[in-house]
């Protein structure tokens, strides 16, 4: 009953809002004729920036200006560190400015004395970096605070946690028992900390990116550099700890000899496979997060795109847009968890496969 009333109320409010907006428009607003550039909005959200735009309050943009750290590529050299406030609105500072167009659009470029622009080595704390650091702190808190409880109670066997610590214990134990143990196999204890770190890191980043206002909303895992590092980490773990059987399977697989002797078809395919596995991990996470965010943004933009099409159209499309956005957000929460799970699971499976030879060897030793 209350659910139905709430839904009816929501629909009514959503229908009424654009009517008022339309009335205001007809009263003679400046923005009446402006077209909404959906692509720009979506790309702006998905790409990085040198400040963190918090919101526009009463016509004034409120942003968190982040530090710019660059090393000049020009002859002068040296490190430059200043607030991105100095670069706002296309301003230039110490020869650095944000390129408005061209190859380095949206990035800091250095203007050389002869007028040409080069890209300096850019170690700036961008919006993504800031969110990344914030998410890292959250991950640390989420794990280290419960760990602190265990540290305090390490001599008390009978103590059992409550609340958040208990929840985290349940989550960690569940992941270990149902995901890491079956995927990695015998050596799971060795890789469990890495896989758990990956899981919680991705999960926190995914969930934070779904929060639409300030501390969240930055699509960290939808950035190829972030997923690249995560995939690289898995790649390193897989190959550094891979057993002899794993390498033998790559360079001398169990296939008919003609597939590997004159022209090493299979070894080449297997060798490429080493890289395609983490590459797939990288692209999967990146594409899922980008896609989800783009879908949500497009659905939200429906409201503004239809603003110029009359009050009735706008009102009905607003209802559709909000309902679809709610649905997409729910799906994205699921995807946020799912992608963290899948990344962890596949990393675990690849690690387990690379480990396989070791366990076989042990079994053989035991048999002897």
């Amino acid at each position: 009953m209350t659910y139905r009333t709430a839904m009816a109320l929501l629909t009514a409010v959503l229908l009424a809002l654009p009517l008022r907006a339309a009335a205001a428009d007809t009263a003679g607003s400046a923005a009446a004729g402006e077209e909404v550039d959906v692509k720009a909005i979506v790309l702006e959200h998905l790409s990085d920036s040198y400040w963190w735009h918090i919101g526009t309050f009463g016509g004034r943009d409120v942003s968190l200006y982040l530090p710019v750290i660059v090393r000049s590529s020009a002859e002068r050299g040296g490190w430059y560190c200043f607030s991105s406030r100095h670069l706002a609105d296309g301003a230039s500072w110490e020869g650095f400015s944000i390129a408005a167009e061209g190859k380095y659009e949206g990035k800091i470029v250095e203007t050389l004395p002869d007028g040409s622009t080069v890209r300096p080595f850019d170690l700036s704390v961008t919006k993504t970096v800031a969110a990344l650091l914030l998410n890292s702190v959250i991950v640390l808190l989420v794990i280290l605070v419960p760990a602190g409880w265990y540290r305090r109670h390490r001599y008390d066997v009978k103590a059992h946690p409550k609340g958040f610590t208990a929840f985290m214990e349940m989550a960690i134990e569940g992941l270990q028992d149902d995901l890491i143990k079956p995927c990695v196999g015998e050596n799971w204890k060795r890789f469990s900390p890495y896989l758990l770190t990956v899981f919680f890191f991705i999960l926190v980043c995914n969930l934070m990116s779904l929060i639409p206002f300030f501390p969240g909303g930055v699509n960290v895992t939808g950035n190829i550099a972030v997923t690249f590092v995560l995939a690289l980490a898995s790649f390193l773990v897989i190959n550094i700890f891979g057993g002899r059987a794993y390498w033998k399977d790559i360079f001398w697989p169990d296939v008919p000899a003609w597939l590997k002797v004159p022209v090493p078809f299979m070894p080449v395919i297997e060798f490429i496979g080493i890289f395609t596995k983490p590459f797939a991990l990288m692209i999967r996470l990146f594409a899922n997060m980008v896609g989800g965010h783009a879908a949500i943004l497009c659905l939200v933009c429906v409201v503004f795109v239809t603003a110029g099409m009359g009050a009735v159209m706008n009102a009905s499309m607003t209802v559709v847009s909000v309902l679809f956005t709610i649905f997409m957000n729910c799906v994205e929460v699921l995807v946020a968890f799912l992608q963290a799970y899948v990344f962890t699971m596949l990393s675990g499976v690849f690690i387990g496969l690379a480990q396989e030879g070791k366990t076989e060897k042990k079994v053989e030793k035991l048999k002897k």
């Binding site: 640390l140 280290l144 265990y150």
Partner: protein, 176 residues
């Protein structure tokens, strides 16, 4: 497209952040939790084992107790049975003894009664003899006083009657 080109700066930041997070969590996070949970699991397992042991001991004790009880029960019946036996034995013994005693007493009484009755009979016979002698004396005296011949005949006849061994003819002359 810019989206697919990783920024070197971001790569460095991400590597740094992820490495720090991983090292901190792998050192102070998950192993601490895991160790604690493992210890608790061990404790629970050992507690369960101990509880099982105690239960088993209790069961054993119960069995032992039952055995002891059954033993006691058996002993009780044994004792009761032997008591009944003893009682019956005692009673039988007493009865037997009493019977013997009674018989003895009865026999003694019978013997003494026989003796007495014999003595009485003897006495009575003696008395009767004396009386009959006295009577016969009187009779004889009366008869004899009248007729001396009949006195002799009578004496002889009487003597013959009295002496069944026919000693009369011999005695007769003596008495005569």
């Amino acid at each position: 497209m810019g989206l697919l080109q990783p920024e070197p700066g971001l790569l460095i930041w991400m590597t740094l952040a992820f490495a720090v997070v991983f090292i901190l969590l792998a050192k102070f996070g998950f192993p601490v939790i895991q160790k604690s949970v493992d210890r608790r699991r061990e404790y629970i397992d050992s507690s369960l084992a101990a509880a099982g042991e105690a239960q088993k001991k209790l069961d054993d004790l119960q069995v032992q107790m039952d055995e002891v009880r059954r033993d006691a029960e058996k002993q009780k019946t044994e004792i009761l049975r032997s008591a009944v036996q003893t009682r019956e034995q005692l009673i039988a013994e007493a009865r037997r003894k009493a019977g013997e005693e009674g018989e003895k007493i009865i026999a003694a009484a019978k013997a003494s009664a026989q003796l007495e009755s014999d003595a009485i009979i003897r006495d009575a016979r003696h008395q009767v003899a004396l009386l009959s002698i006295a009577i016969s004396e009187r009779l004889l005296r009366e008869r004899l006083s009248s007729d001396p011949q009949s006195q002799t005949a009578l004496a002889e006849r009487l003597l013959a009657e009295m002496d069944p061994e026919k000693k009369a003819p011999e005695d007769k002359p003596e008495k005569e």
